[in-house]
Point group: C2
Chain length 358, copies 2
C-alpha cells in the first residue's frame, strides 16, 4: 500500500530529490565517493552550491541587490540573527502563531518589540487585519504561513520600513515580489530539502547599520562575503535543495506550482465544507492556508475522531494528526504532494461519511 | 580504480554508514518514506536520536552529570556559543592553529581573552608547552587536533578551572577522560557524520552562571531541556552519525580504533622519514597528529611537487593537497580510513622515489 505523507515538517519531498540524493550518497558526480564525504571546497560541491544559489535566484526572480544564503542552524537560529543584524532600537512583530511568537521573543533580547496585533486569544484561528505598523520601527516581521493553525498571509506588504518574513512553510509555493521585502528566511524542510539548512534572502543595503558587535557566525555579512562557505555548509541538505529546485524548474516554476497548490487546497477544503462529519478550524475562509489544511470533527461527531484516524491510517494516510494545540487533523500538502494523494484523503473522508452518517 | 579519500573534511566515512544512509534515504525504518521526509517527532526518528545519544555516551564513557547535544550550525557556531554560555569575565585560549585562533576571536566579543601561548609565528608547526594558565579564568580552551598543520595534543589537561576543547577532528579516534573536561564540542564531519551537525558534551553544573541574557537557540540549557529537539534537528546527519557509532562499537570501540590509528600513522610517518624525497612539516615528532599527516618535498626536490601530485592522483589518491598555508601534502587518515589505503599512498611514495632518485 502506498504511504501518503501529509507530515507538517520535515515533510514530503519530490521523488526526484529522493532518488538523486540516494544516488549521490553512493557516488557523487562521478567522484567514486559519497556526497557525504567529499570536500566542500572541491569543484564538484562548489558547482552544487553555485547552481543552487543561481536557481534559487532565478525561480524567485530575486533582484541583484539581494544576497541568497544557505546556513546551518535552522529557522530558529534566524529568530535571533534577524534582530542581531537589523534591530537598532525597535521592531514590529505580527503574532499569528507559535512560531511568530518565538521569533518575537528573541527580538526582545535586542530592543523594544511592538506587537502590532495578535490572534493568540483564539488559538490563532484567524489572521488579524487593520493593524497599524509603527513607521519608526527598524523592521516589520511576520510569518507568512502558520503551519500549526493552517492560516496564511498570501500578500506582500508594501511598507516604508523593511519587511522581514519567515517563509519556512510556503516558500516556492506561490509567487512573491521579493523587492517588497528586506529579508526573507526559512527552514528548508517543507518545500525544499531535508532539515538542516536554512535559507536567507537579504537586501544588502540593510546590513552594517546596527551599533552592536556581532559574533562572526551570526553576522550575515560573514556569509555573504564567503558565499555561504565561511564554514562547512550542510552538504547533503544543500545537495538535496538543488535537486528540488531543478524539479521545480522542470515542472514549470513557481507560477505552475501555485496553480496546482490552489487546486489541491480547493479540492480538500471543498470536501471539508461538504462533508457533514468535518469542519475547518480557521475562522475566515480567506485566511486558510494552501499548505496546511486543518480540520476537526463537526459538532455532534466529536467521538468519531479516533475512528477516523484509524480508518485513514489503514488507508495509508500518514502524518495527519493535528497539532495538540488545535486537535483534530492537519493535512500538509506542500509542493511535492501529488493530487492523487489529496484525492486519496478526500476518498477516505467521503467513505467514512457514508459508513457513519445515515 | 579505487579512489582513496584522504580529504581533510568533510572526509571519509565508513562504508557501513554510507550504505545504511543510502538505504534510509529510500526507505526509512520500514515507513515507506525517506528519512529526509519523516517527522522528527515520529517514533522512528526519536528512536534514532535516543540511540545516537546513548551510544555516544557509552563509547566515550561520559559521566551522568554531563549532557550530550546534537546541534545545527557546525563547530564554528560553538566558537561563540561557548563564551556566550560560560564566560563571565575572562577566558584563556591556547593558539595552536587557524581554528583555535577563530575560536579565540569570538571569545573577545564577550570579555577578556588571555592567549596563554601561540605557535603562530612559525605557521603553527609545533604545540607550545610550559605555558601558564591563569587560575582566575572562567575556562581554558584548546583545539586538540589542528587539521591544517598536522599537530595534535593527545593528553587531557588536569586543571582547577573548566577545560573546553574543540575535538572536531579527533573525537572518537583516541581514548579521553571526559571527566577532566567542562565542555567538549566539534563538527561531525571528520569521524562521525556528514557536515551539518555539531556535538556538544557539557558538564551541567557549569551552565546558568553568566549574567548576560542568552538568545534561546544559543543557550545550551534550551537544548538540554529539549533533548536536542527544541527545533528540527539535522535529521540526515544525525541518522548517519548513529550508523558510524554502531560501526565503531562493532569494531571494538575507541580503544581498538586508537590502536589502529596509531599503527596507520606510524606506517605513514615512517615512510615520510625514510623516503629521501619527503619530509614532515611538524617540528617535533611528539606533536605529530595521528589524523592529519602533513609533508612536503625534501630539500632539493621542491620542483617535484606537482609531479608527485599528478602521480599520486593517477593512482587514485584523492584530497592529498596540503592547505595553502603549509603547502605540500596532507593525508587525512581518520577512523574510517583503511590501512590498505594508507599502504597505497606509501607505495606511491616509494615508487615515486625509485623513479626519481638515482
Amino acid at each position: 500500500m502506498k504511504t501518503h505523507n501529509f507530515s507538517a515538517g520535515p515533510s514530503i519531498l519530490p521523488q526526484f530529490t529522493i532518488e538523486k540524493t540516494a544516488e549521490a550518497i553512493k557516488d557523487f558526480a562521478g567522484t567514486g565517493l559519497s556526497v557525504m564525504e567529499v570536500s566542500h571546497r572541491g569543484k564538484e560541491f562548489i558547482a552544487v552550491m553555485d547552481e543552487a544559489q543561481a536557481l534559487f535566484r532565478e525561480l524567485l526572480n530575486i533582484p541583484d541587490d539581494y544576497s541568497v544564503l544557505f546556513l546551518g542552524g535552522g529557522a530558529s537560529l534566524q529568530f535571533c540573527m534577524v534582530p542581531y543584524n537589523l534591530m537598532s532600537k525597535k521592531a514590529a512583530y505580527l503574532n499569528t502563531g507559535a512560531w511568530a511568537a518565538k521569533a518575537q521573543k528573541e527580538a526582545k533580547f535586542f530592543g523594544e518589540v511592538v506587537e502590532v496585533a495578535s490572534s493568540k486569544d483564539t488559538v490563532y484561528n484567524y489572521i488579524p487585519k487593520g493593524f497599524e505598523i509603527p513607521t519608526d520601527a527598524d523592521y516589520f516581521h511576520f510569518t507568512s504561513n502558520n503551519t500549526i493553525y493552517g492560516t496564511q498571509i498570501r500578500k506582500d506588504f508594501d511598507l516604508d520600513i523593511p519587511v522581514v518574513c519567515d517563509m519556512s512553510s510556503d516558500i516556492f509555493s506561490r509567487q512573491i515580489d521579493v523587492s517588497k521585502y528586506g529579508l526573507i528566511y526559512g527552514g528548508a524542510q517543507k518545500n525544499l530539502a531535508p532539515a538542516g539548512v536554512a535559507f536567507v534572502i537579504v537586501k544588502n543595503e540593510l546590513l552594517g547599520k546596527v551599533g552592536r558587535p556581532i559574533p562572526t557566525m551570526l553576522n550575515y555579512q560573514t556569509h555573504i562575503d564567503n558565499g555561504s562557505m565561511f564554514n562547512t555548509p550542510p552538504v547533503v541538505p544543500v545537495f538535496a535543495a538543488l535537486q528540488t529546485l531543478k524539479w521545480l524548474k522542470d515542472n514549470g516554476g513557481i507560477a505552475a506550482m501555485e496553480k496546482i497548490n490552489e487546486e489541491k487546497a480547493a479540492m480538500l477544503y471543498n470536501e471539508i465544507d461538504r462533508n457533514s462529519l468535518f469542519k475547518g478550524t480557521v475562522l475566515n475562509k480567506e485566511d486558510r492556508s494552501l499548505m496546511n489544511v486543518c480540520f476537526i470533527m463537526n459538532d455532534g461527531y466529536e467521538t468519531l475522531e479516533k475512528d477516523f484516524m484509524d480508518f485513514a491510517t489503514s488507508k495509508g494516510m500518514s502524518g495527519i494528526k493535528g497539532h495538540r494545540s488545535v486537535g483534530g487533523f492537519r493535512a500538509s500538502i506542500y509542493n511535492a504532494m501529488p493530487k492523487e494523494s489529496v484525492q486519496a484523503l478526500i476518498d477516505c473522508m467521503a467513505e467514512f461519511e457514508k459508513t457513519h452518517v445515515k
